[in-house]
Symmetry: C2
């Protein structure tokens, strides 16, 4: 059973309910947490014939709530009750399209970290021209030490090798240039650690490597990862808006647009990472999948099914073993010793 | 006279020579620094009737050279000689499309900082749907303290208010969310500083604010700024490549593309920040303008003319006065005192 935070996200609860019901129709049992009255009003008439259960909750954590405060003060929020259902074994995985910072904190506080992991992190597939790359962290870990970045690489390796056909994913470190001397202090230290690891580390990468598909796992801190996602989205919006305005100016262009519907549809599909199905929170004990706040029912359904798959394959146990196996690599030298090469 | 590093950039020296000659034809006197034999071979037959002078140099600093090492070991490189020409008063401004890290270091070492400025920074206009925003730093300042970010805001304010019609530019801090509690440690400290300043600070901003044009100056460290620029570029490339592939698949789409040439041309123009004319290095004593390494002659001509304008309006003196006037704001409280609100 997948515990769903029905009250989180820009389109909650209606888009969440619709997506969850669609997942239930595909055979995924759902525990829908939220305001029972509101949820009942949105459920289809045949919902009781599907494996959908309701859990009433009083409070909601909004997108603007400061995560730590919200977790402390709203213990009966839908997000919290859904996470508790996973911790208590009622559900095998958690899903939310709500406040991702609050999900991260709730995951760590209620569910606990995988042994050895310093900071759980959120990963997301970013579209490329011919293949997508898995970017970790796109969640809330700002100010990451090199050892955190190293662990993000390890978790990204585990996730991609377990959920895709890529056996030994190419790991790249997002930096301000390909050269080894480029990067912030911690990125340069992480470069050293990754170079000495058994991971398939290909060095520093730039945005172009992501769009050209020469990297499978992109490692960065959550501040940079978040900005990267949003700049890519913002650029798509820019292209869409400018073309729309320019097309409006001439009937010739309008006709051209009609004839080009196919390529534009393909662009939308190939450029829309929400198609791939949610972003996992890796490094916590339970299976936790989140989604963009503005996700539509179709993406929500995909993400819930993906959460179900991750739980079935016991992804967390596998990540945990991989981390323990590589324990000797986790902190290969004292963090406080500055590397000569990085000045 | 504008001192031009003719040997720097992916298309050097031919694109630089062509752009510089085009600027000379528009009345900007040029001092072209580089390998004299190569430059003469590229100059048009009438070049001696234009105000173009040549300065022969032996070495070149490549895009891959580590800046500090290159500056120390290649004192007779075109980039260095062009910068020296500005320091010695032979030229009023410097231009390069080469190694931007090396330009930054050469600017600081040879030309010196504006009094009071901790870190000179590179700014660039990023296109938005209806207006562009000036992003600072997109250069090489990684690991920026809050006080550096604050000064970037000050320099951005000065540049935009002096070179555009915007009198009191809206300053935004690039972060992983709009909320005041979002951001890395230094970004949160910079938020506090900016809130207490007399600048027109509008708070944290996200990529969407840039494309929607609700901000005039975007403040970030050089690591994040560099990645922001490259992700935007990479996304444009992605759109271009995917559409190209999809259009190839059908003759209907090919016809549609022909009819849509106008909107695509407009998109290219509106999305191409190199049109605006180079990126200034602010906070050094001389006028220094750089350009993307892959810039074409047209962009190079624009950037050289822009450098000439900046020198004419004595931009650096004005920035210097503005910084001195706001000296009391520069370090409003002890950097080492953690702010209560940021935990």
């Amino acid at each position: 059973m997948i515990a769903v935070d029905a009250m989180g996200g820009d389109r909650a609860p209606y888009a969440i309910v619709e997506g969850a019901v669609a997942a239930a129709r595909k055979g995924v049992p759902i525990l829908l947490c939220g305001n029972e009255e509101k949820l009942r009003a949105l459920l289809p008439s045949d919902w009781q014939s599907l494996s959908v259960m309701l859990k009433h909750t009083e409070h909601e954590i909004s997108m603007d709530d400061e995560p730590v405060k919200a977790i402390r003060s709203k213990k009966n929020a839908a997000l919290m009750r859904a996470m508790q259902a996973v911790v208590q074994g009622e559900a095998s995985a958690f899903f939310s399209a709500g406040n991702s910072g609050a999900v991260l904190v709730a995951g760590v506080v209620l569910s606990g970290r995988v042994p050895g992991i310093h900071r759980p992190a959120v990963g997301a597939f970013l579209p490329g021209q011919h293949s997508s790359s898995f970017c970790i962290d796109v969640g809330g870990n700002v100010d990451c030490k090199a050892s955190y970045l190293y662990q993000f690489a390890l978790m990204g390796h585990a996730y991609v090798s377990l959920t895709t056909s890529i056996e030994n994913p190419r790991i790249g470190l997002l930096s301000n240039g390909h050269e080894a001397y480029k990067g912030s202090r911690e990125v340069k230290k992480a470069y050293e650690k990754l170079s000495r690891s058994s991971l398939n580390f290909i060095g520093n990468i730039e945005a172009r490597d992501m769009s050209e598909g020469t990297v499978d796992v992109v490692v960065c801190d959550g501040f940079v990862g978040n900005i990267t996602l949003k700049v890519a989205e913002g650029t798509f919006d820019f292209v869409r808006q400018v073309l729309k305005e320019e097309i409006e100016k001439s009937w010739v262009a309008k006709l051209g647009y009609l004839l080009m519907k196919g390529p534009f549809k393909a662009l939308k599909e190939r450029g829309d990472y929400t198609e791939i199905g949610g972003a996992p929170l890796l490094g916590v004990q339970g299976t936790v999948v989140i989604c963009h706040g503005s996700s539509k029912p179709y993406s929500i359904r995909n993400a819930i099914r993906h959460a179900d798959n991750c739980a079935s394959m016991k992804l967390n146990d596998k990540i945990s073993s991989l981390v323990l196996e590589n324990q000797n690599l986790l902190l290969p030298r004292n963090e406080s010793t500055p590397l000569a090469a990085t000045g």
